[in-house]
């Protein structure tokens, strides 16, 4: 019966895997060992693995300088038995032993979401999302740059590649994190996902501008806007975690949602917290578009004055309520 020896790093990730059919496997730094180890605290001839007549494997220490240990950090005095799947250490170098009958986990099928996320890493998608972001920024410059400072156009345009580059930092951090965890980096899918979230935010912002104007800046429009931004962020972070970790789905979703809420907490606070009398500037929605963008008809003066009467009653009630406190 063959034996499999895994060499693990300090994070207990497998770095090497060896399979031997013989009943004796030597371990150490010397080049004539069966498993050659790099760790400088390991002796040239540190230990050996032997199989007895019953097929059991034993770890035998060869009077090493730093000792050998088995599960529970138990020091190997002469030799100790190792079961399939158990860890042992030569000095600080971790190893794991399997016999070839050891069961393996079920095959993980490809997931649709996972494949789509991977596919997003195609340069076509990255380019598409980057174009949407750039278009949004160009429109913003066109809308706001006064004629007197028209010469600033080239300068403002150079901000666009700068911004696009800046948003590469996030996927790069995620890729590094994946590498650190001995997983695939998925840099391009992460980048594509980040740009997709930015592009959706830009489109969502434009839609909410129109919606806010049409709903006369009502609280409903504000809630829809903030919920939308939170969902976009939650989707981004879920995707990021899916690509970067092997956490259970539920954990990924809840962490993503919590971080999205945290990032948007300022906007949520603005919605939930009542305005303060200390604010000298008044809180209202000033968004305006040409009249053709307004789907409704607008209120006639009689209806408007009734609304204002209601506002007076509402403010008077607020006054009475706060007085009670």
């Amino acid at each position: 019966m063959a034996v499999i020896v895994e060499v693990l790093n300090k994070q207990q990730k497998v770095t090497e895997r060896h399979k031997f059919a013989q009943p004796l496997v030597t371990l150490g730094r010397a080049f004539d060992n069966d498993v050659i180890l790099f760790n400088k605290h390991v002796c040239p001839y540190h230990a050996k693995l032997t199989q007895d007549d019953e097929g059991q494997w034993w770890l035998e220490d060869l009077s090493s300088v730093n000792g050998s240990f088995v599960a529970g950090r138990k020091t190997v005095v002469a030799k100790e038995q190792l079961r399939s799947g158990e860890l042992c250490w030569l000095g600080e170098q971790a190893l794991r032993l399997y016999d070839d009958a050891h069961p393996v986990a079920a095959t993980l099928p490809f997931s649709v979401v996972g494949q789509k996320l991977q596919a997003m890493g195609h340069w076509f998608f990255i380019l598409l999302f980057a174009l949407v972001i750039a278009a949004d920024q160009i429109v913003e410059i066109w809308l706001t740059l006064p004629k007197q400072v028209e010469h600033l156009w080239p300068l403002r345009l150079t901000d666009i590649p700068k911004n696009l580059l800046m948003f590469c930092i996030w996927p790069a951090v995620l890729a590094l994190w994946s590498r650190f965890n001995q997983q695939e980096s998925h840099f391009l899918p992460q980048l594509s996902l980040t740009y997709a979230a930015l592009a959706s935010s830009a489109v969502w912002g434009a839609f909410c501008y129109w919606l806010g104007f049409n709903l006369d800046g009502s609280g409903l429009a504000q809630v829809i806007e903030v919920v939308g931004y939170t969902l976009i962020l939650a989707a981004l972070f879920s995707g990021n975690l899916w690509l970067a970790t092997h956490w259970p789905l539920r954990a990924q979703a809840s962490v993503a949602f919590a971080v999205a809420l945290l990032v948007n907490s300022g906007q949520w606070a603005g919605l939930v917290m009542p305005p303060s009398p200390f604010d000298r500037s008044l809180q209202y929605d000033s968004r305006m578009l040409p009249l053709s963008f307004y789907l409704g008809k607008g209120k006639d003066m009689q209806q408007y004055e009734q609304d204002l009467q209601q506002l007076f009653e509402q403010v008077e009630l607020q006054r009475i309520d706060t007085d009670k406190e």
Binding site: P146, P275, S276, P277, R287, Y294, E305, Q309, V315, T322
Partner: protein, 417 residues
């Protein structure tokens, strides 16, 4: 020859000395006669015993009450459990003061003191003539009692509140002191200074009215009634007036609708570089009613802006247009304990004769004076692609009826030609 020169020089010097209508001798006599009846008023904090405000006051002969400005004693009126009042006479006699009645609109307060002076002040019954000599008495900057000579220059024009225009230097700390004629009769009470020898007095008639009303049982309720009464009088004039409109770009907007509302205007038309042409008109009734050091009310403001941008795309124009309406502020000072937070109503309106407009109407209530509100309104016309008119007003300390009637008239008055 030499003698002649000397004589003319002497004559010149004499002329110079006697030229003003007031003389040092009269001022000295007034001061000497009434020094006893002039008091320094101090607002003391109970807990620390420290001075929190200081002003001047004077003792009337009949009834024997002390007069000062409301703004000097406002803390003691609003927070009697925290502050107390004390007077200090010229002869260093000290004593407590009790509030009898106040008039916040005319900034007057009547106080009761256990104090008698050899000679106390009387009110002058008839109005003085223009140019008459007036002596203002008080205690500027806590430096000791002084007398400032000046002239009576009639009632201030363009003001809703009757104020005597006094040409003489009234300084802070003289507030609440009397301004008297040569024989020591009170013409008015020192109230404000606009710098450069421009001072204002509350006329004696207002004091007479307050004396007739004293004493008042519930001061705070009385203050509320004064505010409502004053605003009703003011808004009755405004609402009944036939509003003068002026041409303003493509529209007509209200101008100086009543004498106490004054208007100004500016524009950037001469600056060719701007891609947006802006014309502004601004009208206000700037005089405030002092309620406390953190809270004032009574102002009215109207503002109009015509914005035009022939070379901009409508979407570009509307973005700039939006920036012009997104920073509306409260016009009067108010603390958290004085008012609720502003609530705003946002609506696209369609007046019968006017243009479609985005209208924002914001409102906050006075915590301690039920039925009174501050109102801020701004609207922007929407029917044109490259030009628009913004109209804005703020009202401080109005009730619902006045605010709605004013809004109705204001919205109706802004029309496109």
């Amino acid at each position: 020859m030499l003698q002649k020169t000397w004589t003319s020089l002497l004559l010149l010097v004499l002329c110079c000395c006697s030229a003003p209508g007031y003389s040092a001798a009269v001022a000295e006599k007034v001061f000497a006669d009434y020094a006893d009846a002039l008091l320094q008023i101090k607002v003391l904090e109970h807990a620390s015993g420290a001075k929190s405000a200081i002003g001047s006051g004077f003792l009337l002969a009949d009834p024997a009450l002390v007069v000062t400005n409301y703004h000097v004693v406002s803390e003691a009126v609003l927070f009697p459990q925290k502050y107390q009042l004390e007077f200090l006479a010229q002869n260093q006699q000290k004593g407590k003061l009790e509030i009898v009645a106040v008039d916040v609109v005319n900034d007057l307060a009547l106080l009761k003191a256990d104090y008698k002076a050899a000679k106390s002040f009387q009110l002058q019954q008839q109005t003085p003539v223009q140019g008459a000599a007036v002596y203002s008495l008080g205690n500027p900057h806590d430096l000791g009692l002084i007398v400032v000579p000046g002239t009576y220059n009639g009632i201030q024009k363009h003001s809703f509140y009757p104020r005597v225009h006094f040409t003489g230097a009234i300084n802070s700390g003289m507030s609440g002191g009397p301004a008297v004629n040569e024989v020591g009769e009170v013409i008015g009470v020192n109230v404000a200074s606009a710098g450069n020898d421009l001072g204002f007095l509350v006329p004696a008639a207002a004091l007479q009215k307050l004396l007739a009303k004293a004493p008042v049982a519930d001061l705070k309720q009385d203050i509320q009634q004064q505010l409502i009464g004053n605003q009703q009088a003011m808004f009755q004039q405004i609402l009944q007036a036939d509003w003068q409109l002026k041409n303003f770009g493509p529209a007509r907007v209200p101008d100086e609708i009543v004498p106490f509302i004054r208007c100004w205007g500016t524009s950037n038309v001469e600056k060719d570089k701007d891609d947006i042409k802006r014309v502004n008109a601004f009208c206000n009734q700037p005089e405030e009613i002092f309620l406390s050091s953190e809270f004032s009310t009574g102002r009215i403001e109207m503002q109009f802006e015509w914005i035009q941008a022939k070379e901009l795309h409508p979407l570009q124009f509307f973005r700039r247009y939006q920036q012009s309406i997104d920073q509306m502020n409260a016009d009067n000072r108010a603390g958290e304990d004085d008012v609720t937070a502003y609530s705003c109503q946002n609506q696209l309106i369609r007046p019968a004769e006017g243009q479609h407009a985005k209208a924002i109407f914001c409102l906050r209530a006075y915590r301690n004076y039920p039925q009174l509100f501050d109102v801020a309104y701004i609207s922007a016309s929407l029917d044109h692609q490259q030009q628009g008119v913004i109209s804005h007003f703020t009202l401080a300390g109005v009730d619902q009826k006045m605010a709605l009637e004013f809004s109705h008239k204001f919205i109706g008055a802004v029309v496109w030609q």
